[in-house]
Every structure is written in C-alpha cells, then in structure tokens.
C-alpha cells in the first residue's frame, strides 16, 4: 500500500502548491480559505460515491459503457444534482461561519456564487474522471473497488483546488 500512497501524496502536493500560489488571496478573504477543505472533500466525495455505485453495478453485470446506458446516465445526473444542492449550502455556511468568528472578506452572494460554480464544474469533472477510470479498470481487468476509488478520490481532490482557484480568479 505504501508505494501507492507515495504516488497519491505526490499528486496531492500539486494542489498544495496551487494553494500556496494564491495564499495571499485566501488570507485576504477568510470565507474563501474556509471553503478550501470542504471543496476538496466534497469533490472527492462526489467522485468516490459515483465510483462506488458504478463499481457495484459493474460487478453485478448491470453496466455497459455507452453514453446511453441508463445507470451511467442516471448516476451522472444524480452527481450533478447533488452538487447543485450541496455546494450553495456550503457557500452559505462558509460565509456564515466566517461572519460569526470575524471578518468574511467578501459579500454573501459572491461566496455562494463561487461555491455554486465550483460545485457545478467539479460535478461534471467528477463524472468524466469516474467514467474514464472505471472504463480503464474494466479494459485492463482490474477490480474497480481497489483501483477506481483511490484514483478518483485523489484526482478529484486536486481538481477541487484547481477549480476553486479558477473560479476565484474569474469571479472575485
């Protein structure tokens, strides 16, 4: 397990370096800093839940890899809908908590918009990454439970930081 963990840690450090480059913007707006762990976590969760569901469907022989497959499309749709439900609440929560303990640094609407846009982009990326990884596991005859979830979770973690960075540059 240790070699895989070392590779994953290397991948995660990339997102750490991206965070480091926008440390000043994050420290200037505590509500954005507060969004960092939750965005990383939710991106990983969206990917890992979809990966787990696809793996199970795959083991049960219920999954075919075509864009018109009901299970593939249904899970993709649910991932986007879940993200659009949870991320605006996360944005509101981040603003509320920073308002409680000190200064927020940004207006309420901006923080909710940053969270919502990040969530939307991340849901689409999570679907793409999970679909590709599950398909690769299937092609190379690897057990999706062993391979897909760690890869998807860690790739989505990194994407979480990159997308947050992109949206912050665009909106703020």
């Amino acid at each position: 397990m240790l070699p895989l963990l070392c590779v994953l840690t290397g991948i995660e450090l990339v997102s750490g370096l991206v965070l480091d480059t926008f440390e000043e913007a994050l420290l200037a707006s505590p509500s954005l800093l507060l969004l960092v762990p939750v965005t990383i976590g939710m991106a990983g969760n969206l990917g890992s839940v979809m990966a787990a569901r696809l793996s199970t469907a795959f083991h049960l022989g219920l999954l075919s890899f075509s864009p018109t497959d009901d299970r593939l499309a249904g899970n993709a749709l649910a991932t986007v809908a879940l993200s659009m439900t949870v991320f605006p609440l996360v944005g509101a929560g981040a603003w509320g908590l920073t308002a409680l303990v000190g200064r927020t640094g940004l207006p309420f609407a901006t923080v909710v918009l940053v969270a919502f846009l990040s969530g939307l982009v991340l849901a689409v990326l999570a679907v793409v990454v999970t679909g590709i990884t599950t398909y690769a596991a299937y092609r190379y005859r690897l057990d999706p439970d062993d391979v897909v979830i760690p890869v998807v979770t860690n790739v989505c973690d990194v994407l979480g930081v990159l997308v947050l960075f992109g949206v912050v540059r665009l909106v703020v």
Partner: protein, 192 residues
C-alpha cells in the same frame, strides 16, 4: 430502471452522507481560518494541507474497509482490547503508513518549494509538524473508526457503509485540528 429512477435513487441515498460530510468540511475550514497566524509563520504549511487531509482518508478509510471485511468474514470479533493480534496488526499498519506518509509529504514539499525557489520553512520543523500531526490524528482516527465500526456492527449495521462517512466527516476535522496543534507546539519549542 429508467435514467430518472436511477438518478432519484442515487440522489436520495447519497444526500444525507454528503450533507454530513459538508458540515465536517466546514468545521475543518473554520480550523484553517483559525490557523492564519501559523500559516504566515510557517511558509510551506499550506502546501501540506491537501496531502495530509487525503492521507487521513486513504489510510484510515482503508482501515475501516479492512475491519468491515474482517468482521463479515468472522476473523475478528467486535471486542475492544489489546489481545486480538489481527486487530493490532491492522491498526499498527495503518498508524505506520499514516505517520510515514505524513513525513514523506513534508520532505517532498520542502524539496519542491526549494527547487521552485519559493519561500519555505526549515526541513526539520515542517517534518516535525507533519509527524506529530500524523501520529496524534492517527491515534484519534483509529479510536473513532474502530469504535464506530464495532458498535455499529454489534447493533446490526453494515460496517462498510459506516466507515466511509465517519472517516470523511471526522478525518478532515481531526486532521486540521491536529495540524494546528502540532504547528503551535513546534513553533513554541523554537522551530519555524
């Protein structure tokens, strides 16, 4: 099942877990906001944050999955104590992995920051912070995972569905809180 039915079922089953882990993530963020002084005092500390949080999930999520499988197969009993060799071995392996990887992440972070000519704290202090945070969060997460999996199993719940959410919710909070405490301790004894 139609696309709509698949989507509705996945949505219904996942939403509670996601909301729970969102609450955990927000509190982890609150700790990060409270770390402003340490982030400024220890250049490179923020670089470690994603790697350390992911390690908690990777290592202790896998411990939860192993315990779940072992309980299902009947090779361990859901009893707390220090006399079960299999349980001790699984816990020791998880702790060793967690601490080693935290140290590795700190060394790699300092090397990469130096190569990029970015500001970075001393190797010793960043490694000390990572090892201390890795060890303490490992102990706390082991207690959390083992307790929830055992107590849940005894009450007839499936440990496979319990371990994941517990690790994602408590892992980020415990990971950030122990990183804050470790940074303060190392700064207090003169690192940084």
């Amino acid at each position: 099942m139609t696309v709509r039915e698949v989507a509705a079922e996945a949505y219904r089953e996942t939403l509670p877990v996601l909301l729970l882990s969102a609450v955990g993530g927000l509190f982890a963020g609150l700790v990060l906001v409270g770390m402003e002084a340490e982030l400024a005092a220890v250049p490179g500390l923020l670089v470690l944050v994603p790697a350390l949080l992911a390690t908690r999930g990777n290592v202790y999520g896998s411990l939860g999955a192993r315990l779940g499988s072992a309980l299902h197969q009947g090779v361990i009993e859901p009893q707390f104590g220090l006399d079960d060799d299999r349980l001790n071995a699984a816990v020791a392996a998880a702790l060793a992995n967690g601490v080693l990887i935290s140290g590795f992440a700190a060394v790699l972070a300092v090397v990469v920051l130096r190569l990029l000519a970015r500001p970075s704290t001393g190797l010793v202090s960043l490694v000390a912070i990572a090892l201390l945070a890795g060890f303490v969060s490992g102990l706390l997460l082991t207690i959390a995972v083992v307790s929830v999996v055992f107590v849940g199993y005894r009450r007839g719940l499936n440990p496979d569905t319990l371990a994941g959410p517990v690790v994602t919710t408590t892992g980020d909070m415990i990971g950030m809180a122990t990183l804050l405490v470790a940074a303060r301790i190392v700064l207090a004894i003169g690192g940084g």
